[in-house]
């Protein structure tokens, strides 16, 4: 004689998915706002060997109009050293990377003071570049 097995239905509760989606949305929007500099127009210089930046704390951009930005916000070059010093704080050496995004046609007059400010604030420079086309 065959004894029929009792079947238990196990389904994933899908009611909470909407809430999860909403929380994820907020999380990513906040994350995107914190260091967003995608609205700034600049063209990177090229180099042969590129490395991925790790653990960067801040990003400094010099755009096509030679304006300087720190984490997407305009800043005077004279204030950059102090602002970077506050951002970097007491972070350990491996976590003091500052991304430097300089428009390829910017001149020494614009970018050398920025490099100097990053160096004086104790930051480690990482030039953001594009792969050289051969």
């Amino acid at each position: 004689m065959k004894i029929p097995k009792r079947r238990f239905e196990a389904s994933v509760p899908s009611m909470a998915m909407g809430d999860i989606a909403f929380l994820l949305l907020i999380f990513f929007v906040i994350l995107a706002k914190a260091q967003d500099d995608s609205h700034i127009i600049w063209e990177p210089a090229a180099d042969e060997k590129l490395e991925q930046a790790k653990n960067y704390k801040a990003s400094v951009v010099i755009d096509v109009k030679n304006k300087t930005y720190l984490n997407g916000r305009p800043i005077a070059q004279a204030q950059l050293e102090g602002a970077l010093g506050e951002l970097l704080g007491d972070a350990e050496p491996s976590k003091r990377t500052v991304l430097l995004k300089v428009h390829k046609d910017a001149t020494v007059l614009q970018f050398e003071p920025v490099i100097e400010a990053v160096s004086k604030s104790g930051g480690e420079i990482h030039h953001v570049l594009e792969q050289e086309r051969k």
Partner: protein
């Protein structure tokens, strides 16, 4: 007499929420990865107010202009720079001996500057920027 209304519960379909959540995650991850972060790390030694004169004379000095590169006072074509710099740094193990002083004209572009600092680092050199100090001249 009061008539009772039939209450209709209208629930949004929750079955598709998981798909929406997944698509949102993919969308934001793609957006986040669009920004370029690849490049070149650069170690720049701390500035010294009065560099050691002996060391200053020993280390190679590069002057970069918009059209020419000058290595230890000799102007040369861009293509020659790498072959002229390499022997100067070859076999030097001490980081202090590998320091290359770089002085750039104010109108040198970032693209050109990156090219030459890349060549210096490729040859094993450590780039040190020689910045011009602002001088105030009082005229009577």
């Amino acid at each position: 007499m009061k008539l009772r209304r039939n209450k209709l519960l209208a629930e949004p379909p929750a079955g598709a929420s998981s798909d929406i959540a997944f698509i949102l995650i993919v969308f934001f991850l793609v957006c986040a990865s669009v920004q370029p972060e690849q490049g070149r790390p650069q170690e720049i030694p701390k500035t010294e107010e009065e560099p050691d004169k002996k060391e200053k004379n020993k280390n190679p000095e590069v002057k970069l202009t918009r059209t020419v590169v000058i290595l230890n006072g000799d102007a040369m074509k861009d293509k020659m720079f790498e072959s002229r710099l390499n022997p100067l740094l070859a076999g030097k193990q001490n980081p202090g001996d590998r320091v290359v002083m770089l002085k750039s004209d104010k109108d040198v572009s970032y693209e050109r500057w990156i090219l030459f600092t890349g060549l210096i680092e490729k040859a094993g050199g450590i780039v040190t920027l020689q910045l011009e100090e602002e001088q105030v001249q009082v005229v009577n």
